[in-house]
């Protein structure tokens, strides 16, 4: 059974924004909404680091537990989704989420507030309407430096482990 996850290899993230634009294009996400956002900490100083922040599709999602409307559900393959018809827009999920993933569209003016929660769907659902698609997150596919890893949890950890091993053995170039 596949379990889909993300793993940002922050050593490689340069905040080029490719993931953010790829997400917008693929999912028709409106201006002002960010399903994924690269956040820089310690900007301009030693220790500067970029972290791509989106829904991590947690195994035990805090948002799901916090939701009073039972709008949030987890699929068998690990992807966490929100049923916008059930969502009441209370924002408890945003309090509960450790990553700041849940987003609420403001629209323009007081009465255009839409209120329902939107977040990364692992590219299975666009922002509005549309049938479910195969889980192929474009943020990771377009990642310029291959920093953002996506796919089955086992495969991600194997890839990351290989990189970590290479980082351990310094100075040797394979094949030489």
């Amino acid at each position: 059974m596949t379990t889909y996850k993300f793993l940002p290899d922050v050593e490689r993230c340069i905040r080029c924004g490719g993931c953010e634009v790829a997400c917008k294009q693929e999912n028709n996400v409106p201006i002002g909404m960010r399903r994924i956002r690269v956040v820089t900490v310690n900007e301009g100083k030693t220790g500067e680091m970029n972290v791509p922040m989106a829904c991590m599709h947690c195994t035990d999602p805090a948002c799901l537990k916090a939701c009073p409307a039972k709008a949030i559900y987890k699929r068998e393959d690990g992807i966490v989704l929100v049923d916008k018809d059930k969502c009441v827009g209370c924002g408890y999920c945003a309090y509960a989420c450790p990553f700041g993933a849940p987003q609420f569209h403001h629209g323009e003016g007081l009465f255009s507030f839409k209120g329902t929660m939107d977040k990364c769907t692992y590219c299975v659902l666009p922002y509005e309407g549309g049938a479910e698609k195969a889980p192929e997150p474009k943020c990771a596919a377009f990642c310029a430096t291959k920093a953002l890893l996506a796919g089955d949890a086992d495969e991600i950890s194997a890839t990351y482990r290989q990189r970590a091993a290479m980082r351990l053995q310094k100075g040797e170039i394979p094949g030489e």
Binding site: E11, R12, I14, R15, C16, G17, G18, E20, V21, A22, K24, Q25, E26, N28, P30, I31, G32, E43, G44, K45, T46, E48, M49, N50, E108, P126, G130, A131, K133, A134, E136, K138, A140, A141, F142, C143, A144, T145, K146, L149, A150, G151, D152, E155, I156, A158, T159, Q162, R163, M166, R167, Q169, K170, G171, E172, I173, P174, G175
Partner: protein
Amino acid sequence: MATKLESTFSDVKMTRRTFAKTTAALGAVAALGSGYASATKFTDKIIEEVTASPSPTTKRTKSFCSFCSVGCGYIGVTEDGVFTKMEPWTDAPTNRGGMCSKGAALANVTNSPRRLKYPMEKVGGKWKRITWDEALTKISSKLNSTRDTYGPDSVFFCGLVHGSNEECYMFRKFGMLFGTNNIDHQARLCHSTTVAGLLNTFGHGAMTGTPISLQHSKCHFFFGSNAAEAHPVLMQKIFEAKDRGAKIVVADPRFTRTAAKADLYVRFRPGSDIAFILGLINVIIENGWQDQEYIDNRTYGFEYVKEVVKDYTPEVVEGITWVPAAQIREVARIISENRPSNILWSMGVTQHSVGTQIVRACALLQCILGNQGKWGGGCMPVRGHCNVQGATDMCVLSHFLPGYYGVTSEGSWNWYAQCFSDTPSTSGKITFDELKARFATYNGESMMTKIGFTVSRWYEGVLKPEAEIDQPHNIKVAVLWGMGMSSITEMIKQKEAMEKLDMIVVVDPFPSVAAALADRADGIIVLPAATRQEGGGSLSTTGREILWRDVVVPPLYESKTDMWIFQELAKKLGFGAHFDYKNIEDVTREINLAVRPIGWQGQTPERLKKQKENAHTFDPWDGRAKGGPCNGEYWGLPWPCWTTDHPGTPVLYCDEAPVMEGGHDFRANRKTDEGEEIVRGNLPPAGTGGTIHWTYNYAKDPTGEVNKQAVAEGNPPTGRGRAMLRVQAKWTDRVPKHREPIESPEPDLVAKYPTYEDKRLYRVMTEFKTEQDRSIAEGRHTKYPIILSSGRQVEHHGAGAQTRNSEYLVEIQPEMYVEINPKLANDIGVKHWDMVWVESARGRCKVRAYVTERVNEKTAFMPYHWAGVFQGEDYGDRYPDGAKDLARGDSVNIIASPGYDEQTQMQETKVALCKVYKA
């Protein structure tokens, strides 16, 4: 932080264009196959999925990004003829699917509703729609009447860096047949100094490796390159090496996003680059870390270098660069201990009044370490636009003809008269005398062999009195072809020039300030050009790789490809027979025939297309096809590619492989002023050819037989020479030495290290010493205490005309700003995101303050992609109707330095003096 949408000068309220979206799910995911496991299988798709369209109305086209020069492949998806989205092309050997924000926004840019939709003319202060035929008739009759009245040099052709190789070649040919060398493009502003510096040192003026070859390095030394923002996908290759243990050293006046990834970061004073490099060489020689065997056999002039650098001890260099001596020693140690190390640069090195000499210093460093010509080592000037390497090779330049044949030699023109007549691609015939007759005669000499004006100082040809310019009359008409005018300095003078011209012709998908800068009611014609997604042909990446683009979507609205516009204009001007190509491949074949000095013979349209279809057979580790239809070829057939069965040369001057396996050497056939032949000392490995001190007579051999003979003998047709660490006596500095920038904050250093004497260059006087002395006499170093540099943002490109019209990119990066240090901000009473004025001796800009420690207290930084606001005034209402830039901002090139390079007229954007105060 700069992400607020309440933007002062941006029209960001828009509804997103919606297109029919496909819901067809793609099939299962396939394995990557090779052991090259840096990404998950999940993100890699198999080639079959690319070619098998899920529905008859959906088309997938493999193409290459049209922003920077890394050469990233993508799959453009059209549904019912609309370019709806992009998909990752994970087999593309360089980027393997990766795209930065700009690249990922290509469909969004192409579909921008703010593109120019039809030809327009400004009449009586209003923009009026006209037909293509009206527009071309008006333009051609104006060009002809200007030619008849003032001579062909009164027209200035400018731009086309985003054209295909074929269209760039056509542009230069167009200039030749029109009869002027007043034709130049953006490379003048980005890497002209790289070309001059490397060409004269090594033999070719280009990056000596490919992006793929960077993976083989053990140390990346970023010197004036912020690749993480300017060339994001290049960082993929850097990290591949880093994961294998390579070190990263970044020396930059600004703590960039690239610096954030460094093992060692060094901050130095803008404009002290040469001193810094000479300091490194000093330490290397002091410690005996140089590769003496390499130096003895493959270089000339080391003794002279040794003599010069002995004055640049780390302690002396500390006084010039503000870098502690211990840090200079540390950098020298790291780049020496981790070989092959390379040096990567971009505008940080090139855009200086001593740009060519900084490049030379970098080249010297690589030779002394023995890195030059090794996989992973060498000089890596990373170029800025998708085809700026190609536009340079096709020489849309006022001093070269396509393939770097110098304009000052009649032989070059003879060769092209022959090629234009002999090419089977067109029906036209022309003799040398007929070609010469198309040029003016001035002071009894033909203008054919006179170097023309440059992009950086074209306006002087309009503004200076006729007695002060080296041509019969002022420039009267400017043809601005895909040229973002805000990337050129002295914008106040440019604006004045654009108001004085008889006519401005703008050819661009997004005309931007080329159409909006001049305060004039009449005399501007704008033509909607197709984007690169809408036209075919080849491009050359920064690593000299030639890639073939197919048309993703036909030109939108009434826009036309550059090729079509050249053909139609040539017809109207009477030399259409030289442009009657049936298709773009015909032009490629003419390039194969004519462009010989750099080895453009093997890159036939058929081979380039075959590579594209078989991209998955190329090993991403070395870029070489293992088996399959392209077996043995390197990705992109990097020039020189001498014959149609040559694999291309990924690493220049690498003598470790036979020439037919991509081996190469420094150019021979060069002599020192003392008459010494620049011939290499030792033999390359057995079977790869002997030492020869001549170059084969290959550059004007239309048959290609000489190339075949040379490679059969195991030699590159350019011979086997040496790198010239010391250049000929015609150069002011035969070995680089430090000279202060034109606007220096240090009068004492100016006295010790003054700039050059004033010099006539490219048809006009350039003030070096006069301007430097003026700066000190006016006390600019006290009136303007902050050093200003400019550079790139990852979300925007060039002058920004494309990217500032993409809502996705504007959302991330909506406004122009100046980066200032918190201390400076507090001293002048400014908070983050307040509006400030940045003022220099030229003028001032009104922008946001971005308070950050990226810059130190003495420096400020501004991105250069912004235009549409001029000294605080929004020019939004001057744009052609419907083509107003979505996001506009003030331009740093209003206030940048008036310095220019001594060899190439490169503008000095990296060092100007300014002050910042609250608006």
